[in-house]
Amino acid sequence: MRKLLDRFEMMSISKFGLILLSPTILILLVLVGFPIVYSIYLSFFDLILSSPGKLNFVGLKNYVDILQNPVFLNSLWKTAWFTFSFLFGTTVTGMVIALMLNMRFIGKSVVITILLIPWAIPRVVNALIWKWIYDGNYGVLNAIFVRLGIIDQYKFWFGESPLISITLISVAYAWKMIPFVALLVLAALQTIPRELYEAAKVDGANGWTRFWKVTVPQLKYPLIIILILQTTRAIKVFDLIAVLTRGGPGDRTMVTYYYVYKIAFDYLNVSAGAAAAYVVTAIIVLFALLYYVLLRGGED
């Protein structure tokens, strides 16, 4: 033991660092690196777990198939609408709440604590909550809408157009993630130096101008980080769909990520699932790059 400890003292700092990092590196290489490489490899074959047989090389067939698959292509539009409405809703509402929280008022810490609740609850619970609210026979949303005279009788909401169904799912998810955006923006707001506002005031800028000329530019970096995180999150929506609709009725609420899961783990078509997963990866990377360019664009 003594000897072992002495060895740690003698080795170079890099070597010692590698020892401290060895569990992390092991996890990244064995449980992430290898699976990624292996799944890329598999996406060029025809592995279906339910029907074992010889593994055949099929080239780009899985990629071509998935890009011609009507359910997949339709799911892209649904995912796009889901992502857009989710981003719009969470960013605007989150920013408004953050601006409110940035003022001084009684009970602020209580409000912040309450904000943590939707963020902390499991996404499955998030889905069950809204499932009960949206229910077609006894849901409170139906009751409220009938009372307000918006509809005359109870509706089975997920039987309506995909646009309505997807929007409702997006609202449910936004409810959970608005606090996340609000808290991040609030933290960013608190780092803006007071002097900037004072200077703007001296120059005669009114509240509105100060918001657009001082607050918004200072929020640019955190907002882009938020957009990246929220976009990946929206594209990777899974739990909510799994509990609310399972992609149904029919394929009406089949978003891309849930469909990929179905291909891989319901139909057990591992190769097609891997190919589809990489198409989704490509889309996410594309968005990340786009935001990155936006971020860099402002610095020049």
Binding site: E9, I13, S14, F16, G17, L18, L20, L21, P23, T24, I25, L28, V32, P35, Y38, S39, M103, F105, V111, I112, I114, I117, P118, W119, A120, I121, P122, V124, V125, L128, I129, K131, W132, I133, A143, V146, P179, L183, L184, A187, I225, L229, I235, F238, D239, A242, V243, L244, R246, P249, V260, Y261, A264, F265, G273, A277, V280, T281, I284, A288
Partner: protein, 281 residues
């Protein structure tokens, strides 16, 4: 005269501001409260149009049913064991790793950080497919080992990312001073670095606990029967037809309770961690 008018305007403004705050609080709290209230009703109340609730006779019927279900008790036990183990392991691994990445001048560091970023951005499904095959090959499917390992895949990268910043912000002189005073390398880590980075380590623990407790995809892929977790159990109440809302609402409340309690108790560290790492949630 003008002064008092300005004061009135300000007061009215304040009034509307508080109304707006109240509106925000109601919007945030009411969906969950509605489920909490529902979970304490009787079955017949759940099937009334328009919705009807009773506050005078809170009913524990749904909770009794839930605890009477052997599968629920099993799922609860599994969730507690798996998430606790994964959280503890990830805190240990991330403390060592975050310290090395945050304070040592090392070659290949940026490569490692790139790897971490890949895990954050890549869709989990892309590597869960072959990971599942690997676990099957090792006979790890439907075991605690398999679940904990898979959780670590997602928890360690985020943890390192958060802790790197914490360790990095400790003045380097402190480590040098400890070395000069005769502290060994591990001594420097345990006696100097670890205590100073404690808020970060706590934040990582809380994040990983909440994230692990909330995850559905991992147990859905890795568990089959023996090791089903609370989220898998709860998700079975979903779907489009014949939903048992008594079970759904009570299991929703019980699954949300631990993470809400943790989030409220550790709210300070949570907000710090949120902003330090801009983490997933």
């Amino acid at each position: 005269m003008r002064l008092s008018r300005a004061r009135t305007v300000r007061r009215v403004g304040r009034f509307f501001f508080y109304i707006a705050i109240l509106f925000v609080v109601l919007f945030i709290i009411s969906p969950f409260m509605w489920v909490v209230i529902t979970s304490f009703q009787q079955t017949e109340y759940l099937m009334s149009v328009p919705p009807r609730v009773s506050f005078s006779e809170f009913n524990l019927e749904f909770y009794e049913q839930l605890f009477g279900d052997e599968n629920f008790r099993k799922a609860l036990k599994n969730s507690i064991i798996v998430v606790s183990l994964a959280t503890v392991f990830s805190m240990i691994i991330c403390s060592f790793g975050g310290y090395a990445v945050g304070t040592f001048p090392m070659r290949g560091k940026s490569f490692l950080l790139f790897g971490i970023l890949v895990v954050q951005l890549a869709p989990a499904l892309a590597f869960l497919i072959p990971l599942f095959m690997m676990l099957r090959f090792l006979n790890f499917v439907d075991t605690y080992r398999g679940l904990v390992l898979t959780f670590l895949v997602f928890q360690v990268p985020i943890g390192i990312w958060i802790l790197r910043g914490f360790f990095n912000s400790i003045p380097h002189d402190l480590f040098d001073a400890a070395r000069i005073d005769g502290c060994s390398r591990f001594g420097t880590f345990f006696r100097v670095a670890l205590p100073l980075a404690r808020p970060g380590i706590v934040a990582v623990g809380i994040f990983n606990f909440i994230q692990g407790w909330n995850d559905l995809l991992i147990p859905l892929v890795v568990s089959i029967y023996k090791t089903t977790m609370l989220t898998t159990y709860a998700s079975a109440f979903g779907g489009l037809h014949n939903i048992d809302y008594g079970g759904a609402t009570s299991v929703a409340v019980l699954s949300a309770l631990p993470t809400i309690v943790v989030a409220v108790i550790f709210r300070k560290q949570l907000v710090v961690g949120l902003t330090a790492g801009a983490v997933k949630g």
